[in-house]
């Protein structure tokens, strides 16, 4: 007869059983006092050991760290491997760059988390509360100021200032002056333009205006000024900066904060979500800064002659050689000061609005302050990473890539390849850079999702992501060609936007909204500094006058490709309907295929 053992006994014997405790042992009930009233149980915080605290925090950090790693790593690896394998160049200061990239990741991690915990709730509170309490002019005025504040807080703006030091004063004196002496004014002008764009965009969805005429009206002066500036040899060099400034502004701070206020105003005005409400501000915020920067450039030309600027900069350089710069003028002190200076105005502004206009108590003040602190710390770390990681890597890639097809001093052997092969490699490099950096952009995915919902699934999320990526890829490749062949920017911008205008005219409202906004979402805080630095390095290596203009080509590309894709899908549906009306027996399967 076989022996039988109870499973429970067996498991207990080998120590496999679980344990149990009574919940009463650590969930004590409240006691009553002599009168029978409850004595409240004090609310004690849970005490954790160091190991437990680590296990609690690890998933919180690792998710956010991986997000930023995914944004930075592929691009950085691509640039590094390209230099190593195709150009056979060892990257200089590779440890410094790696450290810098790590700082970018950590900085963005802190910054984004701080944004979500601190600034966004504050912004949303204002977005929901302000339009209901204050008259429209006050609200619009605050929107305008908010536009300036968010522009200063935008991480990619620092890249513009970083780019300033790489511009040669002899070749482009006015560009140099704007990026150095006038750098503060430049950001202010860009900010004011974003503020104006926010005001106009808000009015647009308050009154349900169509985006098309606004685009025509905004583009007309921009293109006119561009053509005017291209006639003046001194101003031509500033065109690239002006057009790139538009791409820099629409980043992770501006878009959500300005949108939340705009949507709040529309909701309070009785215009709920029409689906398209959120669109338009991003478009205008990337067009208006062009106008602002061009006007600033024209103003600067009236204040000083090129000779004076060159003289002043050489004098300043000589003076800098003698005086030991203060701690806040050298890295890393400079980065920390500029980080604090970027965030604080926005924070103070938001708090003032909260205190003076809303007079509402902020829930979780501690958390909001923690978030703002994180944002500032993140911005400082990101700025340091910008200097040592992204700018350095971009500049080194930019200065090395031309060696594929032309002789560059100090790079042996150069040219590495036959001219045509090398040129093809350089352009293919730019194309892949554009495609790869866009397809992974989280903001683009979000836009794709919205688009799919807006068009009832006709325009698939994947279609939009590919259309935008291809557009950016061609844009960056064309921008690089501009630097190689020294094409004037006006030749590309004017025809490009002319095509976009024609497409805007024949496309329907939905696609116009999506297409023009898709240009703004592609330029995040990692891509902008990399591409800017690469362009300037490239420009210096090929002796181009200035290295700007790549980003604005990356903005016009997707506008055209998205509208073309939209027209194509409309054409296919129209053709299918025609076939169906001739042959009414066609089954639903064909319809599905036509839509796909």
């Amino acid at each position: 007869m076989p022996e039988t053992i109870r499973l429970a006994d067996f498991e207990r014997a080998i120590g496999q059983t679980n344990e149990e405790i009574s919940a009463n042992d650590f969930l004590p009930a409240a006691q009553r006092d002599a009168d029978g009233n409850l004595i409240p149980v004090p609310y004690e915080p849970v005490k954790l050991t160091a190991g437990e605290a680590l296990r609690l925090v690890k998933p919180y950090i690792s998710v956010r760290f991986m997000d930023q790693l995914k944004a930075v790593m592929p691009l950085a690896l691509y640039l590094a491997l390209f230099q190593l394998l195709i150009l056979h160049q060892v990257i200089e200061n590779s440890w410094l760059i790696t450290g810098g990239l790590f700082a970018v990741i950590v900085g963005l991690l802190f910054f984004m988390e701080g944004l979500a915990v601190g600034l966004m709730p504050l912004g949303q509170l204002i977005g929901n509360g302000l339009p209901r309490r204050s008259p429209l002019p006050v609200v619009l005025f605050i929107t305008m100021l908010l536009g300036i504040g968010v522009t200063f807080a935008e991480p990619a703006i620092g890249a513009l200032q970083a780019a300033g030091s790489n511009v040669s004063v002899e070749r482009a004196p006015y560009l140099y002056a704007i990026l150095n002496e006038w750098a503060g004014t430049l950001v202010l002008v860009v900010g004011a333009s974003v503020g104006l764009a926010a005001v106009l965009g808000t009015l647009r969805f308050l009154y349900g205006w169509s985006l098309k005429p606004i685009i025509y009206m905004a583009l007309a002066p921009v293109l006119a000024l561009t053509i005017y500036a291209s006639g003046d040899p001194d101003l031509t060099a500033t065109l690239g900066l002006a057009w790139d400034a538009g791409a820099v502004t629409t980043g992770p701070v501006t878009v959500p904060l300005v949108l939340s206020l705009g949507i709040g105003i529309a909701a309070a005005g009785g215009q709920g979500d029409s689906g398209l409400s959120g669109f338009g501000i991003v478009t205008l915020a990337s067009l208006f800064p062009i106008l602002g920067v061009l006007l600033l450039a024209i103003y600067v030309t009236t204040t000083a002659t090129p000779a004076e600027i060159i003289e002043a900069s050489t004098a300043a350089a000589a003076a800098a050689g003698q005086v030991v710069p203060a701690w806040y003028e050298t890295s890393p002190g400079l980065e920390i000061v500029s980080g604090v200076r970027a965030i604080l105005p926005l924070v103070i502004f938001l708090f003032l609005v909260q205190k003076l206009v809303l007079r509402e108590k902020i829930a979780n003040v501690g958390e909001v302050i923690y978030g703002i602190g994180l944002t500032i710390v993140g911005m400082c770390i990101f700025n340091i990473g910008l200097t040592y990681g992204l700018s350095m890597l971009g500049a080194s890639a930019g200065s090395l890539v031309p060696s594929a097809f032309m002789a560059i001093d100090g790079i042996e052997p150069s040219p590495i390849y036959v001219y045509v092969v090398g040129l093809t490699i350089a352009i293919a490099f730019a194309w892949c850079l554009g495609f790869g950096s866009t397809i992974a952009e989280p903001a683009l995915n979000a836009l794709g999702q919205t688009t799919e919902e807006l068009t009832n699934g006709v325009f698939k999320k994947k279609t939009l992501v590919y259309a935008v990526s291809v557009g950016v890829a061609f844009g960056i490749a064309i921008g690089l060609c501009k630097l190689i062949f020294n094409w004037p920017l006006v030749w590309m911008v004017v025809p490009g936007y002319a095509v976009a205008l024609i497409l805007t005219f024949i496309s329907n409202e939905t696609f116009v909204n999506i297409a023009w906004d898709s240009a703004g979402v592609t330029t995040g805080p990692v891509t902008v500094p990399l591409v800017l630095a690469m362009g300037i390095g490239f420009g210096n290596a090929t002796e181009a006058i200035e290295g700007f203009g790549i980003l604005c080509m990356a903005s016009i590309g997707p506008i055209i490709t998205v509208m073309l894709t939209g027209l194509w899908s409309r054409f296919k549906i129209a053709r299918q309907t025609r076939v169906d009306s001739v042959r009414p027996t066609s089954n639903s399967e064909q319809e599905v295929q036509a839509i796909l």
Partner: protein
């Protein structure tokens, strides 16, 4: 994988009240003072009372908040009583509260508490 430590003698308190008022916040504070350590809230739609009360039914909100709390058996009655009073559940249309036994409950138990309970011999082998 370490052993699971189950908690016995635990009870589930579920409470359905109107979302529109501050009722649920008051009830949560009362539950906290009575020793409950946490709660989960869901938003829900309620049906029934509104229809049966006739014209007066319009006074009953259909938007409801469902609060669920896990408490020990010693806490159970005190917490329910505190919540009932704080939520004034004896008012018509105010909502209701119910209690159910929990067979087994398992979650993270801080090491500081666990070692104290081990010293006091409060940890048993699960059957």
């Amino acid at each position: 994988m370490s052993k699971i430590t189950y908690l016995t003698d635990s009870w589930l308190i579920t409470c359905v009240v109107s979302s529109a008022t501050k009722q649920s916040e008051k009830m949560l504070l009362a539950a906290r003072d009575a020793g409950a350590k946490g709660a989960v809230g869901h938003y829900a739609k309620g049906y029934g009372a509104r229809e049966r009360l006739g014209a007066l039914g319009i006074a009953v909100e259909t938007d409801k908040t469902v609060l669920t709390l896990l408490v020990s058996s010693e806490q159970r009655d005190i917490v329910v009583e505190a919540m009932f009073k704080a939520g004034e559940l004896d008012r018509p249309g105010a909502g209701y509260i119910y209690v159910m036994p929990i067979e087994r409950l398992a979650t993270f138990i801080p090491e500081s508490i666990m070692s104290r309970l081990r010293e006091d011999n409060r940890v048993r082998q699960a059957l």
